[in-house]
Symmetry: C2
Subunit: 367 residues, 2 copies
DNA sequence: CGCAGGGTCTGAAACGTGTCAACCCTCCCC
DNA sequence: GGGGAGGGTTGACACGTTTCAGACCCTGCG
């Protein structure tokens, strides 16, 4: 039952242990006949290399890890795919860890990954993660970086400069949404999202509020509906609140911190027979695959997700191979507004002299 | 930069290596004062246990792996979550590998996992995976099982009896959809799905066709639109084909092999101004979260996904701990029909004397 | 006072692999 | 014929940990 080891292979092939190791790692230095005998022995015994011993000797593993906040969020799946592709090009394998919105799990994963001496870690930490906790101890993540494991922050900007990060400019995303809604002549605009402790939520809100303040004109009002999660369920809750308002106070446009929220809001509006976009325009964030297939195709801010993952993995691999010469970089991608029916009445006359914003039907396949 | 090892810790604390090891593994056998000194040294040096060495000594790791076909498919995310929860209860960590519909990647992942001596593997193999290939060699997965790594098949029934499996009864799922559509008086029914080499696709089709043959009456016809993938994109392609048919030949109901396909079909129908469900009823499969939020809320076959993952992990852990005494089991869950608007005209008169099938609004949260 | 026994601590031996210097042998060239 | 080059192979050690059989000391009891 216990798997054969290299010694048994050597014995069976009538060679030394070193020769077997050579066959596995530098086949060209071994005479063809010997090589054949060794390979045959490996086959017959069902020998499988023991990676623990290998790593122990080598000092590190050949895998990189990506730790995501929520594997159920479609945003991360594209990031993972992009990262996998970049890693594959360099012969590295990616393992995915799901912290599932639990910092306890995140901590355990990080601990395990460091003990396993993974080559590097891509992570979207739950709580910006790199700031020291109140008791003055550094966060687990900061300690890991301190001790030398390369880490690239995904979808987070790194305040300090001892690490790489890739992110999408969230303030700009909120701004794009705000400008779009203001252009559509909306004056009562709502933001749906939360908790605000999530940096993205805060920044998207900030972008929106800047746009409304600067471009909305005198009568523009911005209200906020705080949610306790970024889920469709939370969106439905917020939607109910909004729908319950008297029509005169109700916002005419909603910008949601992500698409799941937006779908929840959209669903509730439909249930209450509030027409989208006539009675209520909706803009989401992330442009998930289903955004284009929603009850009313959903306008959304598209983030270059696969590119994000790919860039993150590339930075990580560069840091791994370049070592001390590596210069940390913070890459920021620009999001893009995708206008669909949920925020632009197709029958309404366009403003003269300006091409309307681009209309997209289905999601575009990345890359 | 190189992380401190146990020897340096021992030296700093003025004790032997064994004592440090004892502090880590059997703290009670070490005198409190010594223990404190050792812990302090660990802290000061930032010592992190080397899992490779640990595993090498122990012979196996403490993680189990789950290999999924497509991390972007929401079906798998719930399975992963269920598995994680069950593993967590036993103190095991789960790592996720995405084969991304590439058998090359699947192979490499399996190789790596076996080399890492993971405790066990949950896998939904791409090509039923356990049958020997044409050249007579056993598939990689079969070899892994042969050599003693516990494996539980997820969403696959194991033909042979040398492994556990958890699955959902797919023929029954197809049958539920078929009976439902036949009851709604549909006579021209289409199946959208593919490739048929995927067992689930074939079985869902079989269930549908059995139901139509047995209960559809004399005039019932079943047509098939084969897709090359289970994506919304493929669904749109099939939808275009269907919409292009003259109305007299066009099916009045479509059963899709999964929800992504169904959403694609639904979207195209809406674009072509074919009303759902009046002109075209649609039933999907999987009941993903967005099914309830689609253009027209989507009827679907719900699979107990989290339960599936949980049961799989439990079987795996049982096999790991029980060892030779373990009895392999094949657990089959029953799917459930969730009727929403896409397949039942709410204004149509109900058949007398029978309560209509249950109406569900939003997705129910699992567990 | 002697001895048993428990509480602490330690040295040495694994675990399975990769690496490296050293060795052997053959072949070629001078 | 001698010497050198180089291809092929090997033995020994190192990687960092756990484990196990003791060794040591101290206490309590006969």
């Amino acid at each position: 039952m216990a798997t054969a080891n290299i010694r048994e292979v050597a014995h069976r092939a009538g060679v030394s242990v070193s020769t077997v190791s050579n066959v596995l790692n530098r086949p060209l230095t071994v005479a063809p006949a010997t090589r054949q005998r060794v390979l045959a022995a490996i086959e017959e015994l069902g020998y499988v290399r023991n990676d623990s011993a290998r790593q122990l000797r080598a000092g590190r593993s050949r895998t990189i890890a990506i730790v995501v906040m929520d594997i159920g969020n479609p945003f991360f799946t594209d990031v993972v795919r992009g990262a996998e592709r970049a890693a594959e090009e360099r012969g590295a394998m990616v393992i995915v860890c799901n912290s599932g919105d639990s910092s306890e799990r995140e901590r355990r994963h990080l601990e395990l990954l460091e003990e396993q001496r993974v080559q590097g870690i891509l992570i979207t930490p739950l709580h910006d993660g790199v700031a020291p906790a109140r008791d003055g101890r550094e966060s687990p993540l900061a300690q890991i970086i301190e001790r030398g494991t390369p880490v690239v922050l995904v979808d987070r900007e790194s305040g300090r400069h001892n690490r790489c990060s890739v992110a999408v400019h969230d303030v700009l995303g909120g701004r794009l949404a705000g400008e779009h809604l203001v252009e559509q002549r909306h004056r009562r605009i709502a933001f749906v999202g939360g908790p605000f402790s999530i940096r993205q939520v805060a920044e998207r809100h900030r972008g929106l509020s800047e746009a409304v303040a600067e471009r909305g004109g005198p009568g523009a009002e911005l209200s906020v509906f705080t949610t306790d999660a970024l889920t469709a369920e939370a969106g439905r809750t917020a939607g109910e609140e909004i729908a319950a308002l008297p029509a005169a106070q109700r916002p005419t446009a909603v910008f949601c911190a992500n698409d799941l929220l937006a779908l929840g809001v959209l669903q509730v509006m439909t249930m209450h027979e509030l027409a989208v976009p006539r009675d209520m325009a909706i803009v989401g964030y992330d442009d998930i695959e289903f955004a284009g297939s929603a009850a009313v195709p959903l306008s959304s801010i598209r983030q270059p997700r696969a590119q994000l993952g790919r860039a993150a993995a590339q930075l990580l691999l560069e840091e791994i191979y370049a070592g001390a010469e590596h210069q940390h970089r913070n890459v920021v991608f620009k999001p893009e507004l995708v206008v669909r029916r949920s925020s632009s009445e197709p029958h309404r006359r366009r403003l003269a002299g300006r091409p309307g914003p681009r209309q997209a039907m289905g999601p575009r396949t990345e890359e």
